[in-house]
């Protein structure tokens, strides 16, 4: 409802899911930037500032845990991070939270649920 469109960066190596999330969130009115691995994600974040990051964990080149760790520890950014991964083992989830993620969704996931969580995280940020 605001004038400004919120920017969301999605890092996901599975093309189908990436496109589907893109499609779904664009219809909700967000501006989506796509990245297909961690390296690309970090590179994009060097130049642009986004309002939310959605990332997978097990990706080629730089994986999700590292992305979170670099963003939080090195670049000291506090952009909300939502992890979306098939690896739902307790240790993996806890590690993601320890490193600084704000939310964790396991695949397979519901697009409706994703939308709700995205909205919530963006609302909290304000």
């Amino acid at each position: 409802m605001n004038g400004v469109m919120r920017k969301i960066l999605v890092a996901e190596d599975n093309r189908l899911i990436l496109e589907t999330i893109f499609h779904s969130l664009t219809r909700e009115g967000y501006e989506i930037i796509k990245a297909s691995d961690g390296k690309e994600c970090l590179k994009i974040l060097e130049d642009t500032d986004v309002d939310l990051i959605i990332t997978d964990l097990y990706m080629p080149s730089v994986n999700g845990h590292e992305v979170i760790s670099i963003l939080r520890d090195e670049r000291k950014k506090n952009t909300p991070i939502l992890v979306l991964s098939a690896a739902g083992a307790e240790d993996t989830v806890l590690k993601a939270f320890d490193l600084g993620a704000d939310d964790f969704m396991v695949k397979p996931f519901s697009l409706v649920e994703l939308n709700v969580r995205v909205r919530k995280l963006l609302a909290m940020r304000r």
């Binding site: 599975n14 093309r15 189908l16 899911i17 496109e19 589907t20 499609h23 779904s24 219809r27 695949k107 397979p108 996931f109 519901s110 697009l111 409706v112 649920e113």
Partner: protein, 491 residues
């Protein structure tokens, strides 16, 4: 006794026999390496060799002795009786050279001599029924001189290498082409389906846009796309995707695949049907639960869990093969993923198959199913270490206090791993009357048992901690390090 697997035995026999046959092919070429002059002198001396026209021919071509030519001419008439069938020899001068080379390549008189000897040997020594085959074999192998054989071999190898190179080239080309084709259609189908699922276009338009569905490969691509959608997304799309699958008639392909002889096709079919056509899948799954291939069984069993929410693990009762840990993992994963209601795993605890019993124990521990503790106690008598281990773990995690005395009694006769498990159990279900038990372990020699016992004594209750301090100060046991070790949660 660690004996050789029967299949391996067969292979070894094949191998040894092929080596023997190849040794048969070994000529006496060391003799061939010797000076040919020596050969001639021996032959000159030994004029009894009548079966060999080549011997004389060698002689004629080596020397300038035309005298032997006469013998050659006369012998050459006899040549027709020989089964050599080699070069017709003309004795003109310029052709001498060529003949020389040809003879080197083609004729090796000692091969013939050897062959003769081998036939004699066979005639004299071998029993009748073997003789025929032996003689035929010897004649066959020594008809063609070895060098020709080797040359043929080399040509064969060269052709082989070229064939391989061509094969590589074309396969690569074909692979790349196929990959590109699949990618193009996969992207196209994904887009169309996405637009349809999000409601951007109607079904009729979507149907038009899904091109080339008459080809099997395209239908396979489309099935895979549908599968990927189903595997990754949940929600309202869940019900739409199977409808699309059936509307397009793709289940026929999958059904056909399940009947294939090749196991990986069966798996492909089963997977597609389970996810996209559950009714059909439910009917045919029971046929594959005891399939002869391990992966097909895994796929079928995992599908069963998914398709039978009322009794997801009933198939364990009719299993005839072991239930390996990989399948247990996969079944559990699907079970949790689709939030299937949890059955009472104690039903499967009395199975005959040990791996099923182990699985049940794991599930009982995970889901904290306290009912029927006596069935768990019974498993403590199992001859398998893993089953006892899991039973002790169950007594620990489920806080079955009545089991404490049983496992304490078992302690002395148990394996190292199980002993550790028993001590860990005391930490959670123990009380003051177990202090002596733990102390005796602390006084023993084993470092890992001591550490674990210290840990248990420390965490069992406050009196335990006091007892530890007392032990530390009074006796000559130096357990300071142990205490610091066990109080650090990272250790």
């Amino acid at each position: 006794m660690a004996s050789i697997h029967p299949k391996q035995k067969k292979r070894i026999i094949y191998l040894l026999s092929s080596i023997c046959i190849l040794i048969f092919l070994t000529p006496q070429e060391s003799i061939g390496k010797k000076n040919i002059d020596n050969q001639i002198s021996t032959l000159r001396g030994n004029s009894n060799i009548t079966s060999d026209a080549n011997a004389s021919l060698y002689a004629s071509l080596q020397g300038a002795t035309t005298a032997i030519k006469d013998t050659t001419v006369s012998v050459s008439e006899k040549k027709e009786n020989q089964s050599e069938g080699k070069s017709e020899l003309k004795f003109s001068r310029p052709q001498n050279e060529i003949n020389r080379i040809v003879l080197w390549l083609v004729g090796d008189n000692n091969v013939l001599e050897f062959r003769h000897h081998m036939i004699d040997f066979g005639n004299n020594n071998l029993p009748l029924f073997l003789r025929k085959f032996y003689i035929r074999l010897v004649e066959r192998t020594y008809t063609f001189p070895i060098i020709i054989l080797f040359l043929l071999f080399i040509i064969g190898l060269v052709l082989n290498v070229s064939a391989v190179l061509l094969f590589m080239y074309f396969t690569n080309k074909r692979k790349n082409h196929k990959e590109r084709y699949i990618n193009i259609y996969r992207n196209s189908y994904e887009e169309v389906l996405r637009s349809y699922l999000f409601g951007d276009i109607e079904w009729d338009l979507a149907l038009l846009k899904l091109k080339k569905l008459k080809k099997t490969l395209n239908r396979k691509i489309l099935t895979e796309v549908l599968l990927t959608f189903k595997e990754n997304l949940r929600g309202e799309m869940d019900s739409q995707i199977p409808q699309i699958f059936i509307k397009l008639g793709l289940e026929k392909d999958s059904l056909k695949l399940t009947k294939s002889v090749l196991y990986h096709r069966r798996i492909e079919g089963l997977k597609a049907l389970t996810n996209l056509d559950p009714e059909n899948a439910k009917e045919i799954i029971p046929n594959y639960l005891n399939d002869k291939h391990f992966l097909v069984r895994t796929e079928a069993q995992v599908s069963y869990v998914r398709l039978h929410p009322e009794d997801p693990f009933e198939f364990l009762k009719t299993l005839t093969n072991p239930f390996p840990r990989w399948t247990q993992l996969s079944a559990f994963y699907i079970f949790r993923l689709h939030q299937v209601p949890v059955p009472a795993f104690v039903d499967y605890l009395e199975s005959e198959i040990p791996t099923v019993r182990n699985f049940s124990l794991r599930m009982i521990i995970f889901f904290q199913q306290l009912e029927n503790a006596s069935a768990i106690y019974r498993q403590l008598d199992s001859p398998l270490e893993m089953t006892r281990f899991l039973s002790i773990r169950a007594i620990n995690d489920l806080r079955l206090y009545e089991g404490k005395s049983i496992i304490k009694k078992m302690f002395q006769s148990e394996t190292g791993n199980n002993k550790l498990e028993i001590i860990k159990a005391i930490k959670n279900i123990g009380n003051n009357e177990d202090f002596d038990f733990l102390e005796s372990i602390i006084r023993s020699d084993s470092v890992s048992l001591k550490t674990e016992a210290c840990r248990s004594l420390y965490y069992v209750n406050n009196e335990g901690r006091e007892r530890l301090n007392v032990l530390n100060q009074n006796s000559d046991l130096k357990i300071d390090q142990f205490l610091t070790h066990v109080t650090d949660p990272r250790n």
